[in-house]
Structures are given as C-alpha cells and as structure tokens.
C-alpha cells in the first residue's frame, strides 16, 4: 500500500506533502534537466536592454492610446477591413462546415468502412498540421492578394478542426438509437438523417459557432500576408506608429470576439 505510506509518516517525523511526481529519480531528472535547459535558453537569447528601455516610452504611449482610441480619422479603412474580415469569416465557416460534415461521417469508424476512414483521417491530419498563416502564404502566392485566399485558408482550417471533433462525437454516439432506425428498414441516408444526425446536432451547432469565433480571430491576422481582412490595416497602423488607430482596431476586435463568445454561450445553452 504505497499510497497509504505517503499519508502515514514514520513515528517521530513530521508529515510532508506527497510530491507530484512519485518516482524520486525521475523527479530529480526532470528538475535538473529543466534547470539545465533554462540556463542554456537564457545564455542564447540576446536581449538588447538599451533598446528595450528606449521602447518603454512607446509602450506607455500605446497603453495610453487605449484610453483615447481614434475611431474617426481612419474610419473608412477600419470599416472596410472589418467588413471584409466578417465576410470572410461567415463565408469560410459556411463552406468549411458544409465540407466537414461528410468528412466527419467518413472519419467515424462506426459509420464508414476502413478505406474511406483512412482517407478522411488523412485529410483531417493534413489540415490540422498546417497552420493558417502558412496556408495563407501559399494560397496568396497561388491565387493573388485579396479575400479569396483568406476565405480558402479559413475554410481549409475549419475542415480539420470541425471534422475531427464531430467524428469523435459520432463515434461516441448511442448505438441503440441508430440500430433501431436501421431495424425499421431505413436506407443509409435515412439512417444518417434519423439515427445519427439528431444525436450529434447539438454538438455540431456548438462547434460551428465556436469555429465561427476562431475564424474571426484568425481573419484578423491573415491580412498580414495579404489575404484580406483587418490585419493589413492594423499592420499599417503599427508601422506608422499610429497607436490610437491601432488601439481602436484592437478594441473593435475584442468587442466583436466578446459579443460572439456571449452569443455562442447563449446558443449552446439553448441547444444542449
């Protein structure tokens, strides 16, 4: 009973908290390895402290800019960028979700046969391994600047995220209901529609709204590589040291994200 030993110390010795990692050798190895890594890391990072010190003044200006954000002088740029970001978000979420539903069905082992399962899992793995910004760089090189590249990037990223989580939900569904539908002589489509779909619908709605939220956040950076959205405006504002405009854009992003999160909380509470 080693578990009890930790709580009943030998007589005459004070009680000590049981350590988080039980094996003493492993514990020391982890601590020493970590310390060695930290030393090596700090040795190789070059910090230009005088530059950092000079920057503190600009940092203060930026933080102060949040108290007086400037929405007006670049209002048309901010508005155009925001509309483009939102348009990209909505379009890519719709297309991404529409494509991920069949892929999720294919990636669920209890619905799809093995070859299809492997293909769909492969698609999911590729989509998840490539980051949005890298995909965006390649797509901008291929399709040119503009929101189309951003739209395709976000759709591609949505597929990996949504299909994986939805497939896991389909795999853990209640078999009994689905079997009852099958026993009534339903065709495959009817089986999916009446046996599977009602069980995963709440999760699908919740995930879709969550992904909408993520897509909006990601659409804010795609502009940095020329894929449309508010990112380009933000980048310009930083480059020109217009901190008050940058603060205005950041505040708008935060407000929209908060509103989306609040909305998704309400909708998810309603469907579940």
């Amino acid at each position: 009973m080693s578990g009890q030993d930790a709580f009943t110390p030998p007589i005459g010795q004070p009680w000590k908290k049981p350590p988080f990692v039980k094996n003493a050798g492993l514990r020391w190895l982890l601590i020493l390895g970590f310390a060695a890594y930290l030393v090596a890391a700090f040795m190789t990072i070059e910090v230009n402290w005088s530059r950092v010190y000079e920057g503190l003044e600009r940092g203060k200006q930026f933080i102060l800019a949040f108290t007086s954000p400037d929405f007006t002088s670049r209002s048309s740029d901010i508005w155009d960028g925001m509309v483009e970001s939102i348009v990209m978000t909505i379009a890519s979420s719709v297309v991404g979700i529409a494509i991920s539903i069949p892929i999720a069905l294919g990636a669920a082992r209890n619905v799809a046969p093995l070859p299809i399962y492997l293909i769909c899992r492969g698609i999911i793995a590729i989509s998840r391994a490539l980051q949005e910004i890298i995909v965006a760089i390649l797509l901008v090189a291929i399709f040119g600047f503009g929101p189309l590249a951003g739209f395709l990037t976000l759709s591609f990223a949505t597929i990996g995220f949504l299909s994986k989580l939805l497939a896991e939900d389909i795999e853990s569904m209640d078999r009994v209901q689905a079997e009852a539908i099958k026993a009534s002589g339903a065709r495959w489509m009817q089986w999916i529609n009446y046996g599977v779909q009602p069980q995963v619908m709440p999760r699908l709605i919740g995930l879709s709204i969550y992904r909408l939220d993520i897509n909006f956040r990601e659409s804010a950076i795609l502009g940095l590589v020329g894929a449309g959205g508010i990112g380009a405006t933000l980048n310009t504002a930083f480059d020109r040291y217009e901190y008050d405009t940058a603060a205005a854009i950041l505040i708008t992003i935060i407000v929209i994200v908060m509103a989306l999160e609040y909305l998704s909380g309400i909708i998810r509470a309603r469907v579940q």
């Binding site: 190789t44 950092v52 189309l148």
Partner: protein, 271 residues
C-alpha cells in the same frame, strides 16, 4: 408528436408546420447572408489569377522540389530559438496566469464585484488577440528579435491558461477545502493544502497543452520579425528561394508533429 391527417390516415412528421416554417425562414436568411458574403469576396477577387492558378501551382511545385537539403545546417539556431520562444513564453505566461486565475475564480476571488471583472477582462483581451498581432506591437515597442517573440507568446497565453485554470479551480471539491479550513488553517494554507493539490493535474495538463500550441505559433512569429524559424521562412520567400521554403515547411511540419506527440504522451501520463 407532430402528425398530419390525410383522409383517415395519420402520418408521422418530423416537425410541426410552425417549426418547419421557421426552419425554412432561417435557412433562407442564412443563404441570403452567404450569397451576399460570396458576392463581396468575388468582387474583390481578380478572377484572371484564379483561372491561372493551376499553372502557377505547377510552376511553384516544380521550383520547390526537390527541397534544398543542405540548407538544414543553417536551421539549427532558428529551431533552437523557436523552441525557446515557445517554452520561455509558456513559463512566463503560467507564472502570470496563476494569480489571475485565482482572482477570476468565483470561489477564490477576493471581490466578486471589483476584482473578478478586471481579471476576466485581462483574460478576454489577451486571448482574443493573436500572438502575431502581439508580436507586431512588441516589435514596434521593443524592437525585433527573440525577446519580442517570447513576450508576445507569453501575453497571448495568459488568457488561455488563466481561463482553463480558473474553470478548474471553480470545479474543485469543496469538502477538502472545508476540511483544511476546519483545522484552523490560514488563507494561504488553505490554498496550498486544500486547493493547489486538486488543480495540480489540470495545471500540468494546461501547461503542456499550451506549450504544444505555442510551438505551432512560434514557428510563424518570425514572419513579422520576432525571431525563430519564421524569420528564415520570410527571408526565403522574399527572395523566392522556393527549394529553401519547401525545406523550412517540412521542418515546421516535423516540429509541429513532434510537439503534438510529446504533449499527447505527457498528458496521457498525467491524467
């Protein structure tokens, strides 16, 4: 159960007439919004480039293969930098996230009305802005380099870690805390012996999970000048050195897969 009468027969329906009408209306609105969005995108697109895309893809592919393998000797330092950005960023974030999480959790916050909203505001605002934007900002403030990347990753991770951590704190077993309180423990002792042991596994899990995400994010931070392998990627892209680009992409892919594997193993060992 919704039923439709046809003659003497009663037919089962999935929805009542009212429900199907509102479903139909929702679909109509949704499709209208999507059509509008698509129109906006297509207006801003130069379609000539899109029709030309297959040829361009082939062209880039033929330039990018085979990867320039000998270039890997120059990638050692950038990878080490990337690893440092992710790891040090995660550590700094965790150090800052712990107090914020305790201030934000309903059952440990000193003041529900004043301090909790401030902590939640910090969590939301750091979480909703991408690390690339933080990096952009920090480069404008403290100059380009690895240090800006570390701080950018740290700030971005605070919100994420603090959110998961405060949810874990809110879900703790109160009987253990009460037992510690009943022994006459002080506020700090309650925290150290009643709360911390309960959230330790969650904390370790969050740390490794975030580290994995941070490896991913730090590989691209260099695109805006914040150090790491992204710097090499951006300079190779700028001179159109496609064989180098393809090698860097392969290295990034390998780093992401390895970090995900490590994080999955560690989390499986903890939970």
């Amino acid at each position: 159960m919704p039923v439709r009468e046809s003659g003497s027969l009663k037919l089962w329906q999935r929805r009542t007439q009212r429900e199907s009408l509102s479903h139909w209306a929702l679909w109509l609105i949704g499709i209208a919004i999507f059509a509008y969005c698509w129109q906006q995108i297509s207006e801003a697109t130069t379609w000539f480039f899109v029709w030309d895309a297959p040829r361009i893809t082939q062209d880039i592919w033929s330039r990018a293969t085979p990867p320039k393998w000998e270039y890997i000797t120059q990638l050692g330092k950038p990878i080490w930098d990337t690893l440092n950005i992710a790891t040090l960023g995660t550590i700094i974030a965790l150090i800052m996230a712990v107090p914020i999480a305790f201030l934000a959790a309903r059952n440990t916050t000193p003041s529900l009305l004043l301090i909790r909203p401030i902590a939640l505001l910090i969590i939301v605002s750091t979480r909703s802005i991408n690390s690339l934007i933080w990096a952009l900002l920090l480069i404008a403030i403290i100059g380009p380099g690895v240090f800006a990347g570390v701080i950018a990753i740290a700030i971005r991770s605070i919100g994420f870690c603090a959110k998961l951590l405060y949810e874990a704190i809110e879900e703790i077993d109160t009987t253990q805390v009460e037992a510690i309180t009943a022994t006459g423990a002080s506020r700090w002792q309650i925290m150290a012996y009643g709360i911390v042991p309960q959230i330790m596994p969650a904390f370790a899990g969050i740390a490794v999970f975030r580290w994995d995400i941070n490896i991913r994010e730090s590989t691209v931070l260099g695109l805006v000048g914040a150090g790491g392998i992204g710097l090499q990627l951006s300079s190779s892209l700028n001179v159109l050195a496609w064989p180098q680009v393809s090698l860097i992409l392969l290295v990034i892919l390998a780093a992401v897969v390895i970090s995900e594997w490590v994080s999955a193993k560690v989390r499986a060992a903890i939970i």
